[in-house]
């Protein structure tokens, strides 16, 4: 740890540079929140409608979406 002044770090919450999958999921999620609302069922449907699926390619379910958010937002 250096003590160089000033420390100006944009990203202080990340554990890694987001993957392309994570960037795409985040961007789509923002669009879904904006256009479809904030209910879980609407969010899952909105993602599936846009064919932005889980990393394994499967359509989202409420359970799989929760699990993935818990993984990515832990």
């Amino acid at each position: 740890m250096t003590d160089t002044w000033p420390r100006l770090d944009v990203h202080q919450s990340r554990t890694h540079e987001p993957t392309p999958y994570e960037y795409k999921l985040a961007a789509t999620l923002e669009e879904v929140f904006t256009r479809e609302g904030h209910e879980l069922a609407d969010v899952v449907r909105g993602l599936n409608t846009r064919q932005v699926h889980a990393a394994d390619g499967a359509p989202w379910t409420e359970e799989s979406f929760r699990a993935e958010m818990n993984r990515l937002g832990a």
């Binding site: 420390r7 919450s13 990340r14 985040a26 999620l29 923002e30 904030h38 958010m69 990515l72």
Partner: protein, 338 residues
């Protein structure tokens, strides 16, 4: 001792109030088994962490000849000055003078050691002067202790006086102008009426005619540590959970420099919490940073005599109140040591 109670009011006003807690640096700046030199309240300090995580904060000055202990060696449970090997315990006691065993310095507590607490990822220290070495009671900001609130700490270092950084927070109206081009503060009126509302721990400075649209209110809280609380609406893209809040603290580094601590927090649970955390890390943190940079650019560009040649208006009541409060405290602390 390094924080003299005979400091002038001007010096205290410029370098930060004594006899209270201040945030110093984020906890992760001092790894287990490491030590780190920091400047705070215009003085040099050494943060020293044992391998088991226990942290201490010492004046960065060997009691022998005044060499910086931060250039010395971490010996696990104590530090050895590089100059002559004098060993100092985390509580400031000289444990060994290798050049003259049995020397009278041994066993004496000759180095200032500040009480420290680690809170929500930040190191807080109590900066008492010679007359007030015992720490005052510290009541932590509720958003940082409430288990239903989730927070990320953002820390940045600015070449601006600490008061400018605090004044900026007691000046909500700058949100509608300086931050107009931002993801959270483009809405709302660019005119407003403000009022001060006193509380038991400080005061609110708030708009009387708009709430929940922009940066519309701020509360200054003096609870052993000075902090502000404020709330800013998130756009729908940030998902469920409502607005995000900011707990802000400012470390007076020296007369010209500040460390700023902003905990961005949100009252969220379950998948909503997880989705906010995911979005924050992936896309929102960068946008918040861009907003914070607008503040830094402006405050660092302010002339040194900015607060000497002003023409204030009604929106500046929160700043005026703040200055009066801090100036009076600096005068009182100076007078107490006279």
């Amino acid at each position: 001792m390094t924080l003299s109670s005979s400091a002038t009011a001007d010096h205290i006003y410029a370098t930060g109030l004594r006899n209270q807690w201040h945030a110093v640096v984020p906890s992760h700046h001092v790894a287990p088994g490491a030590m780190r030199k920091v400047t705070a309240l215009g003085e040099q300090w050494l943060l020293f962490r044992r391998s088991d995580g226990v942290l201490s904060m010492l004046a960065d000055r060997c009691p022998h000849r005044g060499a910086p202990l931060s250039l010395g060696k971490h010996l696990g449970d104590r530090v050895a000055c590089w100059y002559h090997g004098v060993e100092v315990e985390p509580d400031g006691t000289v444990s060994s003078v290798p050049g003259l065993p049995g020397c009278g310095l041994e066993g004496k507590k000759l180095v200032t050691s500040l009480p420290v607490r680690e809170v929500a990822g930040a190191i807080l220290a109590y900066f008492g002067d010679e007359e007030h070495p015992e720490p005052v009671e510290l009541t932590l900001p509720e958003p940082l202790t409430d288990p239903e609130v989730d927070a990320f700490l953002c820390y940045a270092e600015w070449n601006a006086p600490w008061r400018y950084a605090v004044e900026n927070l007691l000046d909500p109206m700058h949100g509608a102008f300086l931050h107009h081009e931002s993801h959270t503060m483009s809405d709302g009126d660019t005119t407003a009426k403000f009022r001060i509302r006193e509380t038991a721990r400080g005061y609110f400075f708030e708009k009387t005619d708009q709430r929940g649209v922009n940066f519309d209110w701020v509360e200054l809280c003096r609870t052993g540590v000075d902090w502000v609380d404020l709330s800013i609406p998130y756009p729908p893209s940030a998902g469920p959970g409502g607005p995000f809040g900011i707990v802000g603290m400012v470390c007076p580094v020296d007369e010209r420099r500040s460390g700023v601590f902003f905990w961005r927090y949100r009252r969220v649970a379950d998948w909503q919490r997880a989705s906010w955390r995911f979005l924050y890390r992936t896309v929102i943190e960068q946008r918040h940073w861009d907003v914070l940079e607008q503040d830094r650019v402006m405050l660092e560009a302010m002339p040194a005599d900015a607060d000497q040649r002003e023409n204030l208006y009604q929106h500046d009541l929160g700043v005026v109140r703040l200055r009066r409060l801090y100036r009076a405290a600096a005068e009182a602390q100076s007078a107490a040591g006279a």
